[in-house]
Every structure is written in structure tokens, then in C-alpha cells.
Amino acid sequence: MTLIQILIIAFAIFALTRAVRQFKKGSFSIAWLIFWILFWACAAVVAFLPQTTDVVARLVGVGRGADMIVYLSLIALFYLVFRIYVKIEQVEGEITRLVRGRALDDAQDEFTKK
């Protein structure tokens, strides 16, 4: 086993324990816990037995398993960036609503005078 394989497996175990701890604290639902367990279990299996990805890669028409993982990672990252961007826009909108509400409330006296 190479050093990189050991590191990935160690990180997957660490991430799993973190996910379980967060679930126990009530930070996310059981569905998310199952998702993260499956995700990190798959990562550990792929690190331990890299040839397993070749089977899936051939199924979807990509030459090598490693290439497939890179493609999937890129798609996942793009999607994540999009989600974060949308979330930031929502937060920006909420901040604006707060600032607007306060500004209009502050101006209310001036409104009634004029």
C-alpha cells in the first residue's frame, strides 16, 4: 500500500467520525449521515482497491477509473460553487431586507413630519 492510499483511508475514517459526531449533535439529518457514510466508505474502497473504479469507468465509457473520478469531482465542485453562489445571493437579499426595514423605520418620523 502506498503512502497516498494510507492518507486517503485515514482521512476518510477521520471524516466519518466527524460526520457521526455532527449527527449526534443534531447538526444534520439521518439522510445526510447515510450520504456521508456512503461517500467516505466509497472513497476508502477506491483508495484501497483503485481497480474497482475501472469497472465503473468502462461501464460509463471513460478509459480509466482515475479519469472518471477527476471528471466526477469537477462536476461536483462546479455544482457546489453554484449552490454556494445561490446561497450567498439569498443571504445578500436578506441583509438588504434588514437594512431596508431599519432605514424605513428610522425615516418614519421624518415621513410623518412632512
Binding site: 445561490v86 445571493e89 445578500e92 438588504t96 437594512v99 431596508r100 425615516a107 421624518e110 415621513f111 412632512k114
Partner: protein
């Protein structure tokens, strides 16, 4: 008819007095939305008789216009006029907006690209000196070439994303009826609001017309203009709004 002017302003202490003096003769009330200015914009506007609504932090043009709309609704406005605080719009053109409203328009956009105003009146090749502040005067020119390209791109983006063609989609000189105000929902915070207002007019099937306005470009307003990067950010946000609306 109660006509209220909304002037979004961010650090415009040099020009706000002149704009307010010129605008007050054409409207019932002026509301300045001070968008978190760090200078004396709010104080000067108040001293010149405007109603001032102050954002505690800078939220951008779209947010300021949204706040102005809310304030105008509370004031029972029949018509709302938006114009810039940097002096690039001539308030004496407000009557032509009101005329368009009286003819049945719900939304009126002032376009710098239609009509044939002579240079002496600030047309495309204009060059008059009529905006003064603190004893000084501002150099006035027509719309620069790079601005025209940026404007054309803005028009194309508005057409492709929202299906509306207007000759000056980024114009800040506009008029809205109270009916339009009750229908339009502003979701964007920054420069993308110009295209959003046009998109909202279409979504709500409001009657939109354009009227010719002067193209007044001062050294001051040009220095405050938008960079290419801001244009790119605006484009991304408009695409995002289109996808998520």
C-alpha cells in the same frame, strides 16, 4: 398627480445639491436613498429639503431603488421618477416622462440613444457646461465610445435573458406608475437592477415605452462609472437571476 423622485446616492456630496435644486421644481417630493455614504450626502440632501432614507451599510443600486420604491409607496406616490445623483440626468426632462405616463405607459425608460438632440442640448456629440457645484463647473461631453459598446452589450444581454429589446437598458432615468410599483419585485442588489426592472415590466405585462433624454457625461460621472469587471459580475448575476427566478 403626486410625483415623487427617487435619487439613490452613494458618496455624492459634490453633486447632490445641484441635482436636488433642479429636480424639486418638477416633482411633488424628492426622496434621497443614501446608500451608506461615508460623506455628507445625507446631511446635504436633508438641508435641501429632500426626504432622506439612509441605509446603515452600502447595499448597492438595486437595494437603494427597492428602498426608494417602498418609501414612495408609503407616501402614496402616483408616479415615481428615478434619476442618478451624479448629475448625468436633466430633471427638466421629467415632463416628457409624465406625458408618456398620461398616454398610458406603466414604465418609461429615458433613452440616450433615441431622438436627435442637438449637441448644444447635450446630445451624443454634446459639449455644454451646465452642471456646477461648490463654485466649480463640470466638463460635459457626449457618450464615450466604450460606454456605447458597454451599453449595446447590456441591451443584448437584456434581450437574450429576458426577451425585451430596449435601446438603453442601463439608463437610470425612469418613471413608474403606482400600478407598476405594486407589481414590480426587485430581487437584485446592485447594478443588475436596470435589466431586472425591464424584465419585471415584461413579466407583469406592463406597458413600457422609451423617451429620448440627453446624454450628459461629466468628468465626475465618468470617473464614477463602472469597470469591465463590474460589468462581468453584473452579467453573471443576471444569468443567475434568470436561472433561479
Amino acid at each position: 398627480m403626486k410625483v415623487i423622485a427617487i435619487i439613490p446616492a452613494y458618496n455624492e456630496e459634490k453633486t447632490i445639491t445641484e441635482v436636488l435644486k433642479k429636480a424639486s421644481g418638477f416633482v411633488s417630493k424628492v426622496i434621497v436613498v443614501d446608500d451608506g455614504s461615508l460623506d455628507r450626502t445625507a446631511r446635504i440632501a436633508r438641508a435641501n429639503g429632500a426626504l432622506v432614507v439612509s441605509h446603515s451599510i452600502n447595499r448597492g443600486l438595486g437595494a437603494a431603488i427597492g428602498t426608494g420604491f417602498e418609501a414612495a409607496k408609503r407616501f402614496g406616490a402616483d408616479v415615481v421618477i428615478t434619476l442618478d445623483a451624479d448629475g448625468q440626468h436633466d430633471p427638466s426632462e421629467i415632463p416628457s416622462f409624465l406625458k408618456a405616463i398620461e398616454s398610458g405607459a406603466d414604465v418609461v425608460i429615458g433613452s440616450r440613444m433615441i431622438g436627435n438632440l442637438p449637441p448644444s442640448q447635450g446630445g451624443i456629440k454634446g459639449g455644454c457646461l451646465d452642471w456646477c457645484y461648490d463654485g466649480g463647473c463640470l466638463h460635459v461631453t457626449g457618450m464615450p465610445f466604450h460606454r456605447r459598446i458597454a451599453q449595446l452589450l447590456g441591451n443584448l444581454v437584456t434581450l437574450i435573458l429576458f426577451g425585451v429589446w430596449v435601446t438603453d437598458s442601463q439608463s437610470g432615468f425612469r418613471a413608474f406608475t403606482s400600478y407598476a410599483l405594486s407589481k414590480i419585485e426587485i430581487k437584485t442588489n446592485r447594478m443588475e437592477v436596470s435589466s431586472e426592472l425591464i424584465a419585471e415590466a415584461r413579466r407583469n405585462r406592463l406597458k413600457l415605452v422609451e423617451v429620448p433624454i440627453k446624454a450628459i457625461y461629466t468628468d465626475y460621472s465618468l470617473a464614477k462609472g463602472q469597470s469591465f469587471i463590474v460589468g462581468l459580475k453584473t452579467l453573471i448575476k443576471l444569468i443567475l437571476r434568470r436561472i433561479t427566478q
